[in-house]
Amino acid sequence: MNENIIGINSSKGNKIRKLLKGELGLILILVVMLLVFSFLSPYFFTSRNLLNITRQVSITLIVAIGMTFIILTGEIDLSVGSVAALVGVATAFTLKQTGSIFVAILVGICFGAVLGLINGVITVYGKVQSFIVTLAMLGIARGIALVWTNGKPISQLPANFSAMGAGYIGPVPISTIIAACVFIAAYFYLNKTKHGVYIKSIGANREAAKLSAIPVNKYRLLVFIIIGCLAALGGIVTTSRLLSAQPTASEGLEMSVIAAVILGGASLSGGVGTVLGTLLGAMLIGVIDNGMNLIGVSSFFQQIVKGVIILVAVLAKREN
């Protein structure tokens, strides 16, 4: 009896502390940022601007959700920006050839899946660190995109292709809706299916996962394919928004995406992280970007501020 009471007490105390360190702490920071920017710019806290922020972070968020999975298994994918760009090119090319948006998107996603599969196979079966494999892929995918297009954008895409990236349903941007769907699906997948449990276990202790009869390599590979597909989706939305495929698009995407995931509380050593945290991390970055633009902070200065905020947030959440 006695120990049960102790157990419950501790779980409550721990819970509050954990929440403060985790999601709740992020929400607090987010609220503070919203207040600060509302105070500094009258336009900031309008529904139009807030929806605009969600549109701006949608691509980061889509890819960051894939990155959450990868980081949960204890790996990393540095190639997401290049994969997004190459997929954008492939999608635009297919669209021009076939005229079918559906086929173009399908081809784009498959492209992403295959690139993810390649990263995965080399990492998992070739036993090379994912940092190195995806660093190589970062160069290769970007290079292919540049060679394919001769460095020039593929433009003059059919106007109705712009819906995904630039369209609205009522006041809500379609890209926001896409990101929300990805978020909900990922949340369900990670928390309500055995795959989610396995993915966390593999990151927490690969050997123990193997001895728990989990097909470890299969799931590690699967996660690489998932992030490939999500990077592809990000690339397609970007292409749609610009109505043109730029081989140089999404450069540095990996950095903002990894920042969002780490801000969200994930640990690079694996096993720890949530998609809700990632959502909040991405929103935080989006709010800071948007707010600073509105109040006219120079873009050079913005980078410094963003870096400092990330450092402070991560330090505040650090386990002692």
Partner: protein, 496 residues
């Protein structure tokens, strides 16, 4: 005799858990002082406060007569306190020599370049001094559990400590290594090193300790002189009641049908082919010293190590086990020997740890049923008396013995036909051990075939119906429960 260390009213809590409450403790120069208590009593916490891993909430530490603050492990070492923790802290990918002198390497020049030759020479000397036959240049990952423990001890002794803290040093050791350890301890004692010794093997206390202090729920119970003391006194102080029978009698008997058998089986990691039959409801013990190939057999059977040849039959039907997933499909469960590297997901909560191997049982059309999942884990955790029973708690915040209960529990919520336990009671206190033996008996009575691998001869002879003693990767002898006294097993294990 001089008091080298005095603790006064030490308290420490984690969140709402009082790990230590007003604990007093004193250490006399040159003594070996046993620190005893149930799982979660606060023993390791006390050790970690003395080495600066944790900071006490209140109380006083007097070291050699002076009030001190122990800031961190480096500070503790500087003050002459060395420790061997319950969980191994060796770096698997480094050599034995590198581990022994980690952070303390002999250098060649002012830049701090490590003098590798001297490093290996010094390590050889150390090992030779204690008569330990381990090559200093092999990697830690190639050593068995008991050997790792010995290296951990040598590492702690790489500095000239005045106080040595040993937290369950004999876990994973067989008789032979324990003897080595005791010799080292007696030698240190001659050199006036004072020691705190934690163990759940109470008979060890009588071999090496002078006094014993018992903790219960983080509070002092009593300090005994070991002379004119008996095990039941200690047990009474530890768990507050007598323990009639450490090894409960079995009600059932092994059945007639063979549930599991292997013929000429060999994995790439095994030295020789093995044959073995296991009856329904039988508890088969596999014993032998460290390195006799017991765990390798288990890893082979569970599909972790690749099979080279031989056949496996379950209920007389040949099965093909290529990986642990196949083994699970054939309803084999395997509890591995090293909880930290093989058993636990330390940074995950108990809910995940207890259900991860049996997710099918908590799925409804592929969706996790949280209520079922909680129920299942609670039942297992209650059965094993996990304390505190908080499913949201991370495994790493449990005491060592409670972590072990989680490892044992992980497979028990399924309904396996065959269970292989590799050192199941490692770090588990006397009372809880009996509970686990009861549980094993219950499973066997239901017809489950059970293999227990253990280097603890007393356990093997106390629980098993039949015993195989391994030597050099082969079955050296089969014994009945009656034949298998500790002495008999040891003689065969050593090659008598």
């Amino acid at each position: 005799m001089k008091e080298v260390l005095v603790l006064e009213k030490i308290s420490k809590s984690f969140g709402g858990i009082h790990a230590l409450e007003d604990v007093d403790f004193s250490l006399l120069e040159g003594e070996v002082h046993a620190l005893l208590g149930e799982n979660g009593a606060g023993k390791s916490t006390l050790i970690k406060i003395l080495t600066g891993v944790h900071q006490k909430d209140s109380g006083k530490i007097k070291l050699f007569g002076k009030d001190v603050k122990i800031l961190n492990p480096v500070d503790a070492r500087y003050k002459g306190i060395a420790a061997i923790y319950q969980e191994l802290s060796l770096i698997e990918d480094l050599s034995v020599a590198e581990n022994i002198f980690l952070g303390n390497e002999p250098t060649k020049d002012i830049l701090g370049t490590v003098n590798r030759k001297e490093l290996f020479d010094l390590a050889s000397q150390k090992l030779k001094k204690f008569n330990i036959d381990i090559n200093p240049s092999i990697k830690i990952s190639e050593l068995g559990m008991g050997q790792k423990r010995i290296i951990e001890i040598i590492k702690a002794l790489a500095i000239d400590a005045k106080i040595l803290l040993l937290d369950e040093p004999t876990t994973g050791m067989s008789k032979v290594e324990i003897e080595t350890l005791f010799k080292i301890m007696k030698d240190l004692k001659k050199h006036n090193v004072t020691m705190i010794y934690i163990s759940h093997h109470l008979e060890e206390v009588f071999s090496v300790c002078d006094r014993a202090t018992v903790l219960r729920d983080g509070k002092n119970v009593k300090t005994f002189e070991v002379e004119n003391l008996a095990i039941p006194d200690l047990v009474q102080a530890m768990i507050g009641r007598n323990l009639n029978d450490e090894f409960p009698k079995r009600r059932g008997k092994p059945g007639d049908g063979i549930i599991f058998s292997i013929k000429n089986f060999k994995s790439f990691n095994m030295k020789h082919e093995i044959d073995l039959d296991l009856k329904k409801g039988e508890i088969l013990g596999i014993s032998g010293i460290i390195g006799s190939g017991k765990s390798e057999l288990a890893l082979g059977l569970f599909g972790v190590d690749k099979k080279e040849k031989g056949k496996i039959y379950i209920e007389n039907k040949e099965v093909n086990i290529k990986n642990p997933g196949d083994a699970k499909k054939e309803k084999i469960a395997f509890i591995p020997e090293d909880r930290k590297t093989q058993g636990l997901f330390l940074n995950q909560n108990l809910l995940l740890n207890l259900t991860v191997a049996n997710m099918e049982l908590v799925l409804n059309n592929g969706v996790i049923n949280s209520r079922k999942r909680k129920e299942l884990s609670t039942i297992t955790a209650e059965k094993l008396k996990v304390k505190p029973l908080d499913l949201k708690m991370q495994a790493q915040n449990l005491s060592g013995g409670n972590q072990q209960k989680i490892v044992v529990g992980k497979w028990l919520c399924g309904v396996p036909k065959i269970i292989i336990f590799d050192e199941p009671t490692r770090g588990i206190d006397v009372g809880a051990k009996t509970e686990i033996y009861n549980l094993i008996n219950e499973l066997a009575d239901k017809g489950t075939g059970i293999i227990i691998i253990s280097s603890e001869f007393k356990e093997i002879s106390g629980v098993c119906d039949r015993i195989l003693v391994f030597r050099n990767g082969k079955v050296a002898k089969e014994m009945s429960a009656e034949e298998a006294t500790t002495e008999n097993i040891l003689t065969v294990a050593l090659g008598g």
